[in-house]
């Protein structure tokens, strides 16, 4: 599969997470700005709050994305601050993952240079799935 003698075979890493939108609403109600500042970057908050009727579902999808990335990265990402896993909108409007700090280090150690991500939300739930090819060590 690798095409090179001695090269490590490529492996797939995947992660998925499901979040209840109502629970995000509850977090916002109970903890307000502290919840936002702890989990989300300024860019993520700006995007989510740009659509007042959809803030909770957008935040729910982004939180699900962060947890999905952590699952894909495995134990090496345990404890990585949520803000260090950022969901951005790419040029075409599709979501992209940008890693910082410990999360970036965990990805580099696993040989991951890029995640593919898909988000969805419908009514009560938001879901995120991520996938990445890696050439690193076992997690």
């Amino acid at each position: 599969m690798s095409g090179e003698v001695g090269a490590k075979p490529m492996k797939m890493r995947v992660g998925v997470d499901l979040v209840r939108v109502q629970e995000i609403e509850r977090s916002l109600s109970c903890f307000g700005d502290r919840f936002l500042r702890r989990l989300f970057t300024e860019g993520e908050v700006a995007y989510a709050t740009a659509a007042p009727g959809r803030t909770a579902e957008r935040l729910a999808a982004r939180f699900a994305a962060k947890e999905a990335v952590k699952k894909a990265l495995g134990a090496a990402a345990d404890g990585a601050p949520w803000r260090h896993i950022e969901v951005r909108r790419g040029p075409g409007g599709h979501p992209e993952i940008m890693l910082h700090g410990p999360a970036q280090e965990a990805a580099s150690a696993a040989g991951i240079s890029e995640f593919s991500i898909s988000l969805s939300h419908d009514g009560d739930y938001a879901i995120a799935m991520v996938a990445a090819a890696c050439r690193g060590d076992e997690r």
Partner: protein
């Protein structure tokens, strides 16, 4: 301290079993604590005990049981975190 922690778990933990049936060293993940509920529990603990968990303590082991939460709070209070 443990009584306050149990009250917070009851309110925010959304556990699959009654908090009174969870031992101090029982695995909270096994008791149904999800990643999102863990965030709410953490924020509530910070409110209750007037602390802030540093990034270095955001690991699963810091909140894996009632006893672990106690130790984490004391560690932050003692300035060891």
């Amino acid at each position: 301290m443990k009584d306050k922690i149990r009250a917070i778990l009851k309110e925010h933990g959304r556990l699959s079993k009654d908090v009174k049936d969870i031992g101090d060293k029982d695995d909270l993940l096994a008791a149904g604590l999800t990643s999102h509920a863990n965030v709410n529990v953490m924020l509530a603990l910070e409110n209750e005990f007037e602390i802030e968990f540093p990034d270095s303590m955001l690991k699963r082991e810091s909140f894996e049981s009632i006893a672990a939460i106690c130790a984490s709070i004391e560690k932050v209070r003692d300035g060891q975190a």
